[in-house]
């Protein structure tokens, strides 16, 4: 191999290492029933043509972190990101199987569901400390954002210096107050969206490209 080919290969390796597109793991976190799986499904559908998980009105429908790899998202400015979307179970400090009985589940099934949910939350917390590069923190804009679990989670995310976007979901509902979320978390970008009808979803994608690039 002559010196020119060697030099060319070395330069090529250096450039590819330097400009190699980094794939980030973006976790969708938030309290139960905020719409995390609906968002994960929408992102996966819009950018990869597939779904990730099942959505239901019963809290803790997602009891395992679900991942969709290699999703490319492009912004209007020509920039793009490649991410793995991780849909996590709703974070909480308490789970009582009796809550599931109210949805008509038999006791045995409710206990299994509660146990799976506890394992899922523990796993999600572990992932946040070890494996996540950025967070979309999902809030239901019809609920009070000043709940301890939200304050605690945003504090944990900030302490790890992870980039975060707060998605104020369910703006299609009449009681939605995304401005309240902005007032509680003024230090982070807040994007009001409706995962159900797709309102403002493009703005969220733009923000993701900007924040996670």
């Amino acid at each position: 191999m002559n010196i020119f080919v060697q030099t060319k290969n070395s330069v090529s390796r250096f450039l590819s290492a330097f400009f190699k597109k980094k794939r980030s793991r973006i976790g969708i976190y938030g309290p139960p029933n905020a719409g995390k799986t609906t968002l994960a499904n929408r992102i996966a559908h819009d950018w990869a043509g597939e779904s990730i998980g099942v959505v239901s009105e019963v809290a803790h429908e997602s009891r395992r972190a679900l991942r969709k790899q290699d999703i490319g998202i492009s912004g209007s400015n020509g920039h793009s990101i490649t991410i793995d979307i991780v849909d996590t179970p709703g974070v909480t400090t308490k789970i009582d199987y009796k809550e599931f009985l109210e949805y008509g589940l038999p006791k045995e099934e409710a206990i299994v569901r509660a146990r799976e949910a506890t394992e899922g939350v523990a796993e999600a917390m572990h992932w946040l400390r070890e494996d996540i590069d950025g967070v979309v923190y999902m809030l239901d804009s019809t609920s009070d954002p000043f709940q301890q679990v939200n304050i605690m989670m945003i504090g944990i995310i900030e302490s790890r210096n992870l980039p975060v976007i707060i998605a104020a979901n369910k703006i299609d509902l009449p009681d939605a107050a995304p401005q309240k979320i902005r007032s509680v978390f003024p230090q982070h970008p807040v994007v009001p969206i409706s995962c159900l009808d797709g309102k403002n979803i493009e703005e969220l994608y733009e923000q993701m490209v900007h924040t996670f690039r």
Binding site: K94, M125, Q148, M152
Partner: protein, 120 residues
């Protein structure tokens, strides 16, 4: 016999002499026994994350449903020195933790937490 709820107020000095794991075990052991724990100084974010994870592992049907936890928002350090070195640190504040089936928060603002405690 006197009926009621035990409340343990744990000083900042005692907390500072414990490792993160010791703090979490101390809190969970007490809360699992039905004690309300008041920490003079709150847990660090990483400790809070471990507390949630450990709590989830301790939950048992008809026995322990998890914890209720409230704290004041942390205080940012905007001192001259912190501005000079370009770093603002935040300090955690008094925190109350109890069993989820006994402790219910009524109201919270930046300087007051109102809670309702029931016996088992």
């Amino acid at each position: 016999m006197l009926q009621g709820v035990q409340i343990d107020l744990i000083s900042q000095e005692r907390l500072e002499n414990l490792t993160s794991t010791e703090k979490i075990h101390l809190i969970l052991d007490k809360v699992r026994d039905g004690t309300i724990v008041v920490l003079e100084k709150g847990l660090a974010p990483d400790e809070q994350s471990h507390l949630i994870e450990m709590t989830m592992k301790e939950i048992l049907p008809d026995d322990f449903n998890g914890i209720e936890m409230e704290t004041y928002p942390s205080k940012e350090d905007h001192s001259f020195w912190s501005k000079l070195v370009g770093k603002t640190s935040s300090s955690t504040r008094m925190t109350v933790i109890g069993p989820a089936n006994q402790l219910k928060m009524i109201k919270k603002d930046k300087d007051q937490i109102s809670a309702w405690i029931s016996t088992r």
